[in-house]
């Protein structure tokens, strides 16, 4: 099995979620993140003192998938998360040795 992780723009989350659902993925885990990269942060000014915030808000989406789905899932995310503007994020895939569903103790593909 694989774990596909995507760092995307927060606004794209619902589109990604719907695209994954449409593809047949029924579970995922999402969390907040801050990104640093080509996309610039912003400046704020408080009583004339300037602060530069370097990180931009991102969302991390993690999907556990069967080996054969890994490529397609990455593609599905890629398409739904793309806006074409700097800062769209990254997707990466990592091998997973074992998955368990906590509720039932099922393992492997059954646990997805």
């Amino acid at each position: 099995m694989k774990l596909v992780t995507a760092i995307i723009k927060p606004h794209q989350l619902d589109e990604v979620k719907e695209a994954l659902e449409a593809y047949g993925i029924s579970g995922m885990t999402v969390s907040e993140a801050s990104g640093y990269g080509r996309q610039r942060g912003h400046s704020e000014v408080y009583r004339g003192a300037e602060y530069t915030v370097d990180f931009v808000p991102k969302v991390r989406v993690e999907v556990l998938v069967d080996d054969i789905d890994a490529g397609s899932v990455a593609d599905v995310i890629l398409k739904s998360a793309q806006t074409g503007r700097i800062g769209d994020g990254k997707i990466w895939t990592v091998p997973v040795e074992d998955v368990v569903r906590v509720r039932t103790g099922e393992r492997g593909v059954d646990a997805l």
């Binding site: 912003h42 704020e44 004339g48 300037e50 530069t52």
Partner: protein
């Protein structure tokens, strides 16, 4: 004439209470928007505290309460800069300056109320310009119509107060219908927010909304009972009616929610409070406490439905200035024609108390006159601003968040982990370029 210190004390205290309502409104409104626009929402109220204070002192008071030109507008030059009002001058039983004070804060909050219709998407500079123009062309004249009684601050006052004789004790027409109609007009001019009716735009901080509602209710006792311009029986009855109608309106709104949506909500309670306060505003001297309870229940329940109109008709009155202030103001103003009781201080029987339709038509005419005038003129003002300096924010900036775009600020930094670098910026009173060296960094 001698001033009465008790009356003066109450009017000064009331003026302070009403001043407090505008920051209260800022919180009430601010809590309802998303966290990326709370500061802009609050700033739209705060800037009115700035611009209208100054306009009022310079020409606004005089426009509203100077000698009347045909009942339509006061002479703006007569008391320019409050000329002639500082000394021993007495209006009724209070110093002229106390009356100036009391009425000033009405002007401020009327303007601030309008902003609720255009949350998250108005250029701040354009809004700032709007506040001054709108006050000058719409609010000050309407205040003259409604609040300038013959022989009080000037010999001749406004037409609604003196000719039409509609009852509007504390400003159901001048403040709420006026602001509500103006909000509707601006909602049309600016158009809907990106994602309106699709994206979830739930309130980002309901505790702020509740603080705001609490402050509004508190301040509203100054608004309503203070409008007696003295510490007397009328003020006391207005106070009690303001309590009764507001409590009843909260219940009315919550009962609708419970039966329709399944849950009574805290936003509903806060909204019901405001709906009740709005409705009792024109009526608080004219109803019995039982009449006030009835008016309150009706207003609370009706506004709970009215806030849905924007989805049905597709205008983005973001924080329901129409659903609460316009509708609530109409219910209260016209309600006087039905529920007015001669046993209340205003001494006029409405339709339900055997008074026939005499007062009712006056109330309807007064309400509609303000509604139409405000809507039309505001629409024109808004359109002119949009076509000249631009009123609506760019889409991208709106999506990214108006706080950052217009104010370069972030509302909350609760966890404190946000990294960033410091530059002394221009606040250091040295040229900006030189100081942007960011001399180091560690969060």
């Amino acid at each position: 004439m001698e001033i009465n210190t008790g009356d003066t004390a109450w009017v000064l205290a009331s003026a302070a209470l009403v001043l407090f309502m505008t920051p209260g409104l800022a919180l009430f409104y601010g809590g309802m928007v998303r966290s990326k626009s709370v500061l802009n929402m609050m700033m739209m109220s705060f800037i009115a505290l700035g611009t209208i204070s100054v306009s009022w002192v310079l020409w606004g008071y005089s426009e509203a309460f100077g000698e009347s030109w045909n009942g339509l507008i006061g002479n703006p030059f007569q008391h320019f800069g409050l000329d002639g009002l500082l000394g021993e001058r007495v209006f009724g039983t209070i110093p002229a300056a106390a009356f100036v004070a009391f009425q000033s804060v009405f002007a401020i909050i009327a303007v601030a109320l309008v902003s609720g219709a255009i949350a998250d998407r108005a250029k701040f500079t354009a809004w700032t310009v709007f506040t001054v123009v709108w006050a000058t062309i719409v609010y000050f004249p309407v205040a003259h119509w409604v609040f300038a009684f013959d022989g009080f601050a000037a010999d001749k006052g406004g037409w609604i107060a003196n000719q039409l004789k509609a009852i509007d004790f504390a400003g159901g027409t001048a403040i709420h219908i006026n602001a509500g109609a103006a909000g509707l007009a601006l909602a049309f001019v600016l158009g809907k927010r990106v994602g309106f009716g699709k994206d979830p735009m739930r309130p980002h901080n309901l505790t702020l909304v509740m603080i705001g509602a609490g402050i509004l209710w508190f301040g509203w006792f100054g608004f309503n009972a203070g409008s007696a311009l003295g510490a007397n029986g009328t003020a006391a009855v207005a106070w009690v009616n303001t309590l009764a109608a507001t409590g009843a309106a909260m219940l009315g709104w919550l009962v609708v929610e419970k039966s329709r949506d399944g849950h009574p909500t805290s936003l509903g309670a806060a909204s019901g409070v405001v709906a009740g306060l709005v409705a009792i505003t024109p009526a608080c001297s004219a109803l019995t406490p039982v009449g006030s309870v009835v008016l309150g229940v009706v207003a609370g329940a009706a506004c709970a439905y009215a806030v849905g109109l924007k989805f049905r008709f597709g205008f983005d009155d973001s924080l329901d200035v129409v659903g609460v202030h316009l509708v609530g103001g109409l219910i209260g103003t016209i309600g006087v024609g039905f529920l007015g009781s001669a046993s209340a201080p205003a001494g006029v029987d409405g339709l339900f108390y055997g008074g026939g339709v005499d007062q009712l038509w006056r109330q309807v005419v007064g309400a509609l006159a303000v509604l139409v005038f405000s809507f039309v003129v505001t629409y024109v003002i808004g359109t002119v601003i949009q076509r000249t300096i631009g009123f609506r924010l760019e889409t991208e900036a709106e999506v990214a968040g108006i706080d950052l775009e217009e104010h370069a600020e972030t509302s909350y930094d609760i966890n404190g982990l946000a990294s960033g670098r410091f530059g002394t910026g221009s606040g250091a009173a040295v040229p900006t370029a030189a100081t942007k060296t960011h001399e180091g960094a560690s969060a």
